[in-house]
């Protein structure tokens, strides 16, 4: 099944108990499509219940990117978390597993090799 990984790349970062997810369009022409679909609400719902706090979204059209800031997403923070991956380095790939609706895929410019 098609997933967000077909359309975009993503990188996770951490600061305290806050995770950040930068999502970048493979093809910049897909930015309006991605920005219209990948809302903060969709991201929060997909990653629940791992994210306890609010999810903020920043739009970066000049970079064809979105930045998501997820509070309370790291089990108390890198230095307190008991998780195998306390930094949430792998979190970007949980997000990239989000199923991509057929109508988004058919309108996308990017075609994964």
């Amino acid at each position: 099944m098609a997933s967000l990984r077909d359309l975009a790349t993503a990188r996770s970062g951490d600061k305290g108990d806050t995770a950040t997810l930068g999502v970048v369009c493979r093809d910049p022409a897909d930015w309006p499509l991605l920005a219209g679909w990948l809302t903060a609400e969709r991201v929060a719902a997909f990653l629940a219940p791992a994210v306890r706090g609010p999810v903020r979204r920043y739009e970066l059209p000049a970079l064809a990117a979105l930045l998501f800031v997820l509070e309370g997403a790291l089990d108390g923070g890198v230095t307190r978390s008991l998780a195998l991956d306390p930094h949430g380095k792998s979190l970007a790939f949980s997000l990239l597993a989000m199923p991509l609706p057929e109508e988004i895929l058919t309108r996308a410019r990017c075609r994964r090799p």
């Binding site: 990984r5 790349t9 990188r11 305290g16 950040t20 930068g22 990117a65 230095t79 008991l82 949980s94």
Partner: protein, 449 residues
């Protein structure tokens, strides 16, 4: 005359970074300044504990190996070296650097040490509220190990203007390590917010070293990166107005393009319009990347405005003990046997009334990393590991839980292998803000050998 551009490279993005890649960067790209950023959030608190045990310890554990390797090429290329590897003891690191410089044939090399980042007593006195957990430092009492403020570029600029060729610091804001040589070289005013903002942007892009040039990026078949084994570290050719062209050494692996740069620009950013640093609040919303050719990317459009009147401080504190361990299962029913093992462990910990502050179990291969809807219902995975981690008050409780994990060999589900566990002291961090005028950085030069 000011040269048209100033080349600054990043030789390390964390303590365990590759040393041979830094040597290649210096030999092939010959940057005028090379920065080694090696301090994670809790590193300084760990280093303070090491210094308490040994007054000549408390700096980066790879300092000697890294400096011994990079000093000869840096002397040949006339590169200035700037690093926060001083951690909790920049003075001792400076003394060791003096010996290593003498070994490299430069006994008179000007080596400067920046101190004044430790603010433990100020934090105890002011007792400001934590930003990222409940309460204030006073609630932690004697558990506090140390508090260190993120210094800005000023003391490093001072050291460079006084002729330092090696600058060793403790806690300094990571981008400030890169901003400082740009201010010193181009003679930017400290309140030239646009240029300072662009310097912070360059520091932010470079500070994680190989993460700009194809590290933390490859996804085979989808995002391929050539020759990752010989990943090249990045440099920036900075222009007097603060715009720059990014590159990596000839003949190294990795990739540098719009995607690697954009992923790194957004890395650990909390607000692209307000990246708060001690020297300025940078604004990355108008940043543009232009691919000029293979592994050459132009970056433009950073901005800045005055910084807040406070500095961020990281408070390190002892946080009980952490025990972690597991046992592995294979074949049909492996996931069910792993889940049974974890249920048995929980029951034995309860029955023995071992006091636990926090406990987490996972099945590695099923749900140890994936989050939310990305986790599949128990799949037919045939190679898994049951994992338990717990925070407890003391070493004795950690040992008791570790013993129960090991006991699964003979007293758990069928076919369990590779049982192991380890315990460590918990060391956590939390942040506060303090007025910047209370922090007084100092610069001193290490006497010649």
């Amino acid at each position: 005359m000011v040269a048209a551009t100033f080349r600054i490279g990043c030789g390390a993005g964390f303590s365990a970074d590759r040393i041979d890649a830094a040597v290649t960067l210096i030999e092939r790209a010959r940057p005028q300044a090379v920065v080694f950023e090696c301090l994670a959030e809790r590193t300084v608190a760990k280093a303070v504990q090491a210094r308490l045990a040994d007054p000549e310890a408390g700096f980066d554990p790879w300092f000697e190996e890294r400096m011994r390797a990079v000093l000869p090429p840096a002397l040949a290329a006339r590169s200035t070296l700037i690093t926060n590897m001083g951690a909790a003891n920049p003075a001792a690191a400076g003394r060791l650097a003096r010996r290593l410089a003498a070994e490299a044939g430069a006994p008179d090399l000007p080596i400067a040490v920046v101190e004044g980042d430790e603010v433990t007593e100020i934090v105890r006195r002011l007792d400001p509220p934590f930003l990222d957990r409940l309460g204030r430092p006073s609630v932690l009492g004697e558990a506090i190990v140390s508090a260190h403020a993120y210094l800005g570029a000023a003391p490093i600029v001072d050291a460079l203007r006084r002729g330092a060729r090696v600058v060793i610091t403790g806690r300094v804001a990571d981008p400030a390590l890169f901003l400082a040589p740009l201010i010193a070289h181009f003679d930017w005013a400290a309140d030239d917010w646009e240029r300072v903002g662009r310097g912070i942007l360059i520091g932010h892009l470079l500070e994680c070293a190989g993460q700009l040039t194809g590290g933390y990026f490859a996804d085979p078949g989808v995002k391929d990166v050539a020759d990752l084994a010989v990943l090249g570290l990045p440099f920036a050719d900075v222009e007097p107005d603060g715009n720059a062209t990014l590159g990596k050494p000839e003949g190294t692996g990795g990739r540098l393009d719009r995607l690697t740069c954009t992923e790194q620009l957004l890395y650990e950013l909390h607000d692209p319009g307000a990246y708060q640093q001690p020297d300025a609040t940078a604004d990355f919303r108008s940043v543009r990347f232009t691919e000029l050719g293979p592994d050459r990317v132009r970056v433009e459009g950073g901005r800045g405005r005055p910084p807040p009147a406070t500095l961020k401080v990281v408070v390190g504190y002892r946080d009980g003990a952490v025990v972690e361990g597991g046992i592995s299962y294979a074949g049909e029913g492996a996931v069910a046997r792993a889940r049974l093992a974890l249920a048995i462990l929980r029951e034995r910990i309860d029955r023995r009334a071992i006091p636990v502050l926090d406990l987490r179990t996972d099945v590695i291969g099923v749900d140890s990393l994936l989050r939310g809807a990305a986790v599949a219902p128990d799949p037919d995975v045939r190679d898994v590991r049951a994992r338990l981690a717990a925070r407890v008050a003391d070493r004795a409780s950690a040992r008791a839980i570790g013993h129960e994990i090991e006991a699964l060999w003979l007293n758990g589900p069928a076919g369990g292998g590779g049982a192991s566990w380890s315990a460590r002291e918990g060391l956590a961090v939390a942040s506060v803000l303090i007025p910047r005028d209370l922090v007084r950085p100092t610069v001193s030069f290490v006497p010649p050998a």
